[in-house]
Amino acid sequence: MNVQQAIDEANRCLLCHDAPCSQACPGGTDPAKFIRQIRFMNLKGAARTVLGNNPLGGVCANVCPTDDTCVRACLRSGIGQPIDIDGLQRFAVDYGRSQGVKAFAKGKELPHKVAVIGAGPAGLTAAARLATYGYPVTIFEARKQAGGMLRYGVPETRLTVEDLETDLNEITALGVEIRTNTRIESKNAAAKLLDEGYSAVFVAPGLWKPLALNIPGADLDGVTTALTFLDDARVAPETIRTLVKDQFVAIIGGGSVAMDVATTAIRLGAKRVYALALEGMTELPAMGDEIIEAMELGVVIKPQAQVSKVLGENGRVVGIEGHETEWVVPGKLTPDNAKKVDGTRFSLKVGALVQAIGQGATEAVGGIITPFKSDRGLATADKQSQATTMKKVFAGGDVVRGAGTVVDAVGDGKRAAEAIHELLSEGQVAL
């Protein structure tokens, strides 16, 4: 959007009182306010509102599932099309930056150091906010570069490295130190960091253990997981191109990540792509526009289908076998509730199989927080303060909520930063 288009769009906004769009943002962004600012020509102010609330405001403009949050809540829908809130957010951020707007600044340096584990959206947000208060923050990051799923998961078509790095640079400009290639995996790591002189620890390592099916043939060459597939597609696209080029590719899963794998496979040259899901067509966990985009690219979605066996030749996948299913109890969308329908056996010839059935916490995470109060293999943390059962240790993002969204992780990072600030500014924590 250019200025003219943004003003036109902002002029459609009803400037609602107690605006529902603003209440619908899990990250606490205030769309009604930045849209009003655009409407009243306070264009720089709009950028301050977005980025001041959310240091990943630029990223979120690209990746937020707004049809599920602010845009869904938009009251303009009552009299026509809702407001293009993500478009206006992108405009506000880009315009503000082009005018040199700095939404946040490093605070006056305080004595308490804070450690953050994981440079994904949750960790980055907490770090940025703590740095604006003045705390020296160190992020420990296992991978070569910061960003978490934003760099190694989300496809480049949705979020370019450039857009990611623009947000990242503003965060590092606050003096946040990101120690990359530094995986925290020792037992009692959080306690050790506190011993080393950090006054608080925020644990945000996300979910990086791909879940895999336990079916015959799952260990064949050419069978992989969504996380590995998408990670490679971003850092080593040639390996994925070789895997899928001119091949029939099957994906197990019907969620957003499965759709990302499917569209990526097509873009990298796959001849035909199937997505097989246990859910019915209207029950697919992926969002409507993701499904439409995949189908428009030619992805064949096979709903209510279960893969039971991977067929191989010379150690490589050559096909899959399965059957159609129905729910024993309607509406209960869990694998153990799926029942085989007789006479629906099918087999497909495929040269690659990608399992997109979710991800869990890696083993290392269990050791970081002790005792690891685990709920479904996730960390537990207080919903308001993100506090864990360990004193001075907080947790948030996917590792707490399970596979969530970027803006959820941003919200957790903000809450954790506020709670840490409260803890440290009360002066109860000795240096």
């Binding site: 250019n2 200025v3 003219q4 288009q5 002029n11 459609r12 400037l15 009182h17 009003r36 600012q37 009243f40 020509m41 306070n42 720089k44 102010g45 301050r48 509102t49």
Partner: protein, 409 residues
């Protein structure tokens, strides 16, 4: 959001924490409304005009407002038939006193209007000063007062303006501002009359006498008050150019030495900057608040702060009147050069609106090619730039400056 930049300005010896004020109207009708406005960041309030209720009991016609919409844009202008305050005089002054007590650092202006005797002005001025008002605004400008000889009828007569200003001024020791009506050919004689009567400042404009529409089925103009209507006070975006004109007229004339408070159609910080550059020192707003609420001051504050920083001004005062010297009479405009419209085909979406306006309203200088792209015949273009003004695509039509065709021919 305020950026913490000092926007204060000294106006007639009174410090306004920022130049943004409610203008006298229903937006500043009660203590609660003004208190909320102060809390949200307005620097001053010109309280709803108060008269003496024992002289005349004020009531308002109903419905009292009628909007002018244009396409999907609502309320580009607003007509009202409202009188001065219908609340008891005493209640209004009690509210003013409470406002000053609870908001001592905000600027509080009492707007007054005598209705039957010249001495009403004296009484009201005393009451305003006693209540703690920092200033008085004399309402010489309401275009729909039902009491003969008041409102803009008084404000159209230089002798009356001078006399009433002088009576008000001698009854109190606080600064007095005279609010002008735009329903005159020339505001200067009236502003000078107010100055001669002792006014410390001029505010303008009050509303423009107008009719916004007619109900087609009943053949009744709007607002339809029991089957009749009156031409009456028009405000909002549509009147901004009229307000800017009168403010600049007064700012340009060296005989008028007192400062100005500008209003008429202020919605954004850009409107604010325009009024300031053309000579206003403080700014007043009604219709934008009627439409969007007090919250809009946040954007005025943030936008004006950015403007000051970006243009290197150290105070609002420094920018007041900066555009005044660039306003001249039409016969002083240069005819040496002219504009030629330049159309960027990479941006053009091929709607052809520029072709139509040029063919039917200008120089027939634009033709359309087979690929829908418009071409400008530079020899024919006389640079009115209507094509640029109506083009829906940002920066698609610009212009270059060349020697004037008629001068070189």
């Amino acid at each position: 959001m305020t950026r913490g930049i000092d926007l204060s300005i000294n106006f007639c010896g009174v410090t306004f924490p920022n130049p943004f004020c409610l203008s006298s109207s229903p937006v500043g009708n009660t203590y609660d409304m003004c208190a909320r406005a102060f809390d949200m960041g307005w620097g001053g309030v010109v309280y709803k005009t108060v008269g003496l209720d024992y002289e005349v009991k004020i009531t308002h016609p109903s419905p009292r407002l009628n909007p002018l919409h244009r396409g999907s844009q609502r309320v580009v202008g607003l007509q009202n038939v409202e009188q001065i305050s219908d609340r008891p005089t005493k209640d209004n002054f009690v509210d003013l006193a409470r406002l000053k007590k609870n908001y001592p650092h905000k600027a509080l202006v009492a707007s007054i209007m005598g209705l039957t005797h010249a001495t009403d002005w004296e009484k009201l001025a005393k009451m305003a000063e006693d209540a703690g008002a920092d200033m008085i605004e004399c309402n010489f400008s309401c275009p729909q007062m039902t009491v003969e000889g008041t409102g803009h009828k008084a404000g159209q007569d230089t002798a009356v303006v001078e006399k009433l200003t002088s009576i008000t001024k001698s009854a109190c020791s606080i600064p007095v501002m005279a609010k002008m009506t735009p329903n005159v050919a020339d505001m200067l004689p009236l502003a000078l009359a107010a100055q001669a009567g002792g006014a410390d400042a001029i505010s303008a404009i009050n509303t423009v006498k107008a009719l916004t529409g007619v109900d087609l089925d009943t053949a009744t103009p709007l607002p339809n008050v029991g089957g009749k209507s009156s031409s009456s006070g028009y405000s909002g975006t549509a009147v901004k150019p009229i307000g800017l004109r009168f403010i600049s007229d007064m700012a340009r004339d060296e005989r008028l030495k007192i400062p100005l408070s500008g209003m008429g159609g202020i919605y954004t910080w850009i409107d604010c900057v325009e009024y300031l550059l053309l000579g206003a020192s403080t700014l007043q707003v009604t219709t934008a608040i009627l439409q969007h609420g007090f919250r809009i001051v946040e954007d005025m504050d943030e936008g004006l702060s950015d403007y000051l920083v970006d243009h290197g001004y150290e105070s609002v005062q420094q920018m007041v009147g900066k555009a005044v010297r660039n306003v001249v009479e039409p016969n002083q405009l240069s005819h040496a050069t002219q504009a030629i419209s330049v159309i960027d085909h990479d941006k053009c979406i091929g709607c052809g609106q520029c072709f139509l306006t040029c063919r039917d309203g200008a120089a027939q200088a634009i033709s359309i090619q087979d690929d829908r792209m418009p071409i400008v015949d530079e020899d024919e273009c006389f640079g009115c730039l209507m094509c640029k003004h109506i083009c829906p695509v940002q920066d698609c039509i610009t212009y270059k400056t060349v020697p004037h065709h008629q001068a070189t021919a």
